[in-house]
């Protein structure tokens, strides 16, 4: 089944903890992204990697650190979780970076208590 997959689907954790969300795509794409969808359903780009190189790093706290071990994976590590980090995080991938369709993962709902 070709797709973008994310684990875990749900993540509930305490404030101050460190957690990771994993993303994998088997579509052969060279670009991967992380988006954050807040409680009002607003979607905003966080990071973008092209061929394992960071090309977009929007204004996010440096507690968020993406890691791309290879072109098929882009993981998101979050240190010292805060209440405001609660959101749905979507991974996406695309072939190339310009004016192309992005394929989204199912999302990871993070709840920080």
């Amino acid at each position: 089944d070709t797709a973008v997959s994310q684990t875990p689907k749900y993540l509930v954790t305490q404030m101050g903890n460190d957690k990771s969300i994993k993303c994998e795509q088997n579509l052969g794409h060279d670009t991967m992204y992380w988006y954050k969808q807040d409680s009002k359903k607003f979607l905003k780009i966080m990071f973008s990697y092209n061929n394992k190189e960071l090309i977009i790093n929007e204004t996010v706290p440096n507690r968020f650190s993406p890691k791309s071990p290879d072109k098929a994976h882009l993981n998101l590590h979050i240190n010292s979780l805060e209440l405001g980090d609660s959101a749905v995080y979507f991974c996406a991938s695309s072939h190339g970076t310009v004016n192309i369709e992005q394929f989204f993962g199912p999302g990871t709902r993070l709840t920080v208590l």
Binding site: I45, I56, A92, G96, V98, E101, P106
Partner: protein, 112 residues
């Protein structure tokens, strides 16, 4: 500044009624415009893009550069069209390559 505006947070229509979801953009150039849809409990997926000029699930969208709009239309709404719709803009190369700038989304509710 690059911006996508969807003025309606919620749009509620009856089955069979015409639907128009509004989208206006702010960008000095010729961006690529998209409509993405998120059905309940499903992932975000591309509905259509202006460059392909196609009709998907009965939906069409015309890019109006004069009005900087990319409204999504369907002549007869179906209950299965109920979903969250996002208009998105992709800058034409250079700058922040690859990112999609999303509007805040419009929730379409089609009532029987």
């Amino acid at each position: 500044a690059q911006r996508v505006t969807q003025p309606e947070k919620l749009l509620s229509v009856f089955k069979g009624a015409p639907v128009e979801l509004k989208c206006n953009y702010s960008y000095s150039g010729s961006p690529e415009l998209f409509w993405y849809v998120q059905y309940s409990r499903q992932r975000l997926q591309l509905l259509l893009r202006h460059i392909s000029r196609e009709s998907i699930k009965g939906f069409t969208a015309d890019l109006n550069k004069g009005e900087t709009s990319f409204h999504l239309k369907k002549p007869f709404a179906q209950e299965e069209d109920s979903a969250m719709y996002y208009c998105a803009l992709s800058p034409p190369g250079g700058g922040s390559q690859g990112n999609l700038i999303f509007g805040k989304g419009t929730k379409l509710s089609v009532k029987p």
